[in-house]
């Protein structure tokens, strides 16, 4: 397939004696929006974190546009620049302004001229309604604003894929929507997105495909309609009956 962007082959990850991922093989295509659902501790986040090597897989391969990125000889940070990631706890940099959060990596790693990085950052901040906060420090932002900043920070590197690791789980209920709206807009713009989420309604609405991960394996995958209306796997049925 020419339009594949990420492919995993028998991906396994153990923490000590605990095998969290027990062999996951899947392909993410360009422009696809894939939601990953499943019970806590089932390996969803670990899977996502293996894709940009925040966790080093114990076994198996991760291909990014056909290149095996688990190869130790490769410069990991170069690949990470092409995959944006958004965390549950935002992890914005508290020691710099909102604007500097966004321009830091482009200036340091892509050698974008400062003025240009600033322009692009302001444009992105405008897109998510944070332009007037550009010179504030993150401590003055609400949770929803911090998460929007984190998204913009990742987008500033012009990634080819965005990985979302439970982006709304740490938010107060009234702020969930503003973040989901930003992600939704992003999926509509054609960005390839992998979203680990507990927001089932959202997953159903934005996804092209849903993966149900449980006990370290993909138990079931399919279109959102199929997964949410007529799931086949007993564990999927059980999980959905509990959350829906």
């Amino acid at each position: 397939m020419t339009d594949e962007i990420i492919r995993t082959e028998n991906l396994k990850k153990s923490f000590g004696d605990l095998e969290v991922l027990k062999g996951i093989s899947t392909t993410i295509r360009q422009g696809e929006v894939v939601s990953i659902i499943g019970p806590s501790g089932g390996g969803k986040s670990t899977f996502l974190r293996c894709l940009n090597l925040l966790e080093q897989p114990t076994e198996g391969k991760v291909y990014f546009k056909g290149q095996d990125i688990t190869d130790k000889k490769l410069n990991t940070s170069k690949f990470r620049q092409r995959m944006g990631m958004v965390f549950q706890n935002f992890n914005v940099f508290p020691n710099m302004t909102v604007l500097d959060n966004v321009t830091l990596a482009p200036i340091l790693e892509k050698k974008v001229p400062k003025a240009q990085a600033r322009e692009e950052a302001l444009a992105l901040l405008r897109r998510v309604g944070l332009e007037e906060k550009a010179n504030e420090y993150p401590r003055k932002l609400s949770g929803g604003q911090k998460q929007r900043l984190a998204i913009v920070r990742a987008l500033a590197m012009q990634p080819e894929v965005m990985l979302f690791d439970e982006p709304t789980s740490a938010l107060d209920p009234e702020m969930v929507k503003e973040v989901l709206n930003v992600i939704m807009e992003l999926t509509r713009s054609g960005m390839t997105c992998l979203i680990v989420t507990h927001e089932m309604g959202f997953a159903r609405e934005v996804s092209d495909r849903v993966l149900f991960i449980c006990d370290g394996v993909i138990k079931e995958e399919g279109s959102p309609d199929q997964i949410f209306t007529c799931p086949h796997d007993p564990s999927t049925i059980k999980f959905l009956s509990m959350v829906l």
């Binding site: 925040l54 992890n91 940099f93 710099m96």
Partner: protein, 219 residues
């Protein structure tokens, strides 16, 4: 009191020389100790097992033996090891620097480890190189954890230089000993030196507090 004034009147140059000695030895120890401490902390946190255990052993040995023993060790040992002449004072300074570096490296390491794990991950996820991650994201945050303990360590270092008087290297305690030997006014001379130490550390701690406040201004 009169005797103290008498001593000051007659021997103030001795005390000033001692003060100068304490000041420069402290400054060199703090500065070089911090730089060396940074290096040791980097080794201690490196992925290489060899470097890691070397730094670990270095820290354990220096923290596990008395500083006075270390001073003797370097005072006797260094001249024998080195192919060139080294004054007693320099041997002692080297010992003080090495001792301070062990404590400071642990302070730095603890400060770096206290930075939220999510910050490392976020820095890596945007594709920052390990160096840039440290210089722009981790260290600026670690400094705030490190500073208060480091300030304490600086003050401990200043006081620790008094041990160097065992070897008559010409800092404040040496001044006390000289004057006491010449006049037999031990208590008075001690009082003078004590007041100087106190003022020195008092001023130092105030300065450090101002610095600390400046650096943590963004919170």
């Amino acid at each position: 009191m009169e005797k103290i004034i008498g001593l000051l009147d007659k021997y103030y140059m001795v005390y000033l020389q001692g003060l100068w000695g304490t000041l420069w030895i402290s400054a060199v120890t703090v500065l070089c100790g911090t730089l060396l401490g940074l290096l040791i902390a980097a080794l201690r946190m490196s992925r290489s097992k060899l470097l890691n255990s070397f730094a670990g052993a270095y820290i354990e040995v220096l923290r596990g033996t008395p500083i006075l023993l270390q001073l003797y060790f370097f005072w006797i040992g260094l001249p024998k090891l080195l192919p060139f002449e080294l004054s007693d004072t320099m041997c002692i300074v080297v010992a003080l620097v090495i001792n301070a570096s062990a404590y400071i490296s642990e302070i730095i390491r603890a400060g770096i480890n206290a930075v939220d794990k999510g910050q490392w991950e976020a820095a890596r996820s945007v594709g920052l190189s390990e160096i840039h991650m440290m210089t722009h994201v981790i260290m600026p945050q670690a400094v705030k954890n490190i500073l208060p303990a480091l300030c304490n360590e600086f003050i401990t270092t200043v006081k620790g230089t008094s041990l160097a008087s065992v070897f008559f290297v010409g800092e404040l305690m040496t001044s006390y000993k000289s004057v006491q030997a010449a006049t037999f006014l031990a208590l008075q001379s001690l009082t003078i030196v004590g007041v100087i130490y106190f003022l020195l550390n008092f001023i130092l701690s105030r300065l450090l507090r101002v610095l600390e406040r400046r650096l943590t201004a963004s919170d």
